[in-house]
């Protein structure tokens, strides 16, 4: 079964130089283990393929039911050099929430989640 991250998480993003950070937070604590398992650094790098120049790092904050992603080379030089509308990476948060994940019907039922369609 396919879900949007938007259905299971909220997020905020910002910048540090040419790196965008995205904090991804489970909407409910019971969603966190599933998010931690599926939303890997590789998966996020794949989601943003073509949009960022550098690697993706992931840090876990299980105390906040959150993951922190660093997207290096995401801001076209960053700060004042960047010509982008989103030079400070403010809406990378919602761009990540477009990502889809696949979980089994059983897990979805246990978590009380509805499929995408």
């Amino acid at each position: 079964m396919r879900l949007h991250l938007l259905d299971v998480a909220h997020a905020r993003s910002g910048d540090k130089g040419d790196t965008a950070n995205i904090g991804l937070i489970a909407l409910k604590p019971e969603y966190y283990p599933m998010i931690e398992r599926l939303v890997t650094a590789d998966a996020v790098a794949g989601h943003f393929e073509g949009a960022i120049d550098g690697p993706v790092e992931r840090f876990e904050l299980p105390n906040l039911n959150a993951l922190n992603f660093l997207l290096h080379g995401a801001l076209d030089g960053g700060g004042t050099l960047s010509l982008k509308t989103d030079a400070q990476g403010k809406v990378f948060s919602t761009a990540l929430l477009r990502m889809t994940i696949d979980i089994s019907q059983d897990e979805a039922r246990t978590l009380g989640l509805e499929p995408l369609e």
């Binding site: 997020a11 950070n21 949009a51 840090f59 904050l61 076209d76 982008k84 761009a95």
Partner: protein, 456 residues
Amino acid sequence: MKQTVRVAGGQGFWGDSLDAPRQQVEGGEIDYLMLDYLAEVTMSILQKQMERDPAMGYARDFVGAMESVMTGVMERGVSVIANAGGVNPPACAAAIRALAPSGNSAEKLRIAVVTGDDLLGRLDELIDAGHPLANMDNGDPLSTVRDSVLSANAYIGSEPIVEGLSRGANVVITGRSTDTALTMAPLRHEFGWGASDWNKLAAGIVAGHIIECGAQCSGGNCLYDWRSIPDLANVGYPIAEASPDGTFIITKHPGTGGRVSVPSVTEQLVYEMGDPHEYITPDVIADFTTIRLEDAGPDRVRVSGIEGRPATDKLKVSIAYRAGYKAVGSLVYSWPDALEKAELADRILRERLDRLGLRFDQVLTEFVGVSATHGDLAVRAAGDSRDYPEVQLRVGVRGGDRKSVERFTREIAPLVLNGPPSVTGFAGGRPKVEEIVAYWPALIDKRVVQTKVEIV
């Protein structure tokens, strides 16, 4: 010793709400008003202002803020801590002093001025003494851009602010203090935390991180259940209600809008986060993976469990340097075929720039309404639907030659008459050429930066 100290955040950046400081002081009991004015490149803007007028170089908004809270400071014992001093804290202090009534009551205003963070005049001396001030992102030594440097400031910690408060100041004005020190320092002062009470210092830093962006932790810019957040027109700015043991509650004044909740505070905690195990400050390294949040009633979140460890022997230095010029222009194309028209206009514009022989380091095109925020992710999600009601073509250029960028700004308007049809949105006139002031983060040994506190 007080058992509860209330630090209120009243400004998240230079340009934030003009009313928030007064609302924080008048909306209920607080002990300290914390105002953060400095972003990464703010110092360079202030440096340029001081070059034009030696009495400038600080955040002018702070003067209005102080005027609006002066009664609270002079009569009700609220103290103010602000990094509004920019590159000229003494001039900032003089402007605040000028607001106070003369006569006996003038003594009720004791201003501490913190200096020593400004390294601009010492750069050559420091480089000669073997401090390369290498760029933390790419390792280049500062000497590669030395001639273009506009400002250079070390991020300083809580020590000088604590000193100012211990010497009886009720207004502390700093230059490039870290945002978080502005909140941690008064807690350290009130509760007598030592320089190696790592867990408590870390707790003060986390409290600072939560309230340093103003209402961004109390319902502003909050994605979680955003539709249900009440009365943002009257949004309450945050207050950290701290206890001597390092635990604290994040809340806001009664009767204000917005919302303080575990999700709203969590969104702010992860904002601009690097490695959460090590949030490095001049005073302490805070471990964000130890933070515990609990709902403690309506608009109250309890924060506890925070651990810290010894700080490093370095300070971060924020250096700003001139890095060429840029300009961004835009036009709006309407239905039908809005995107196709905007794409054609972009091709025509680029061909004309080529024919003029203009060279830029970068030309960036965005189609606002289609892909400016989410890029290809949005294009793929939209599928074959290209029936946009309107699309804004937004083209930016940057380069080292001001004349070329200037010429670019004159190539947008002609497209209204000599490019694709159904175009509008040029009322703003020709785009403006901006000098780019870029940011150069570096590290320096702590021992070479000596801060100084003066009571004026």
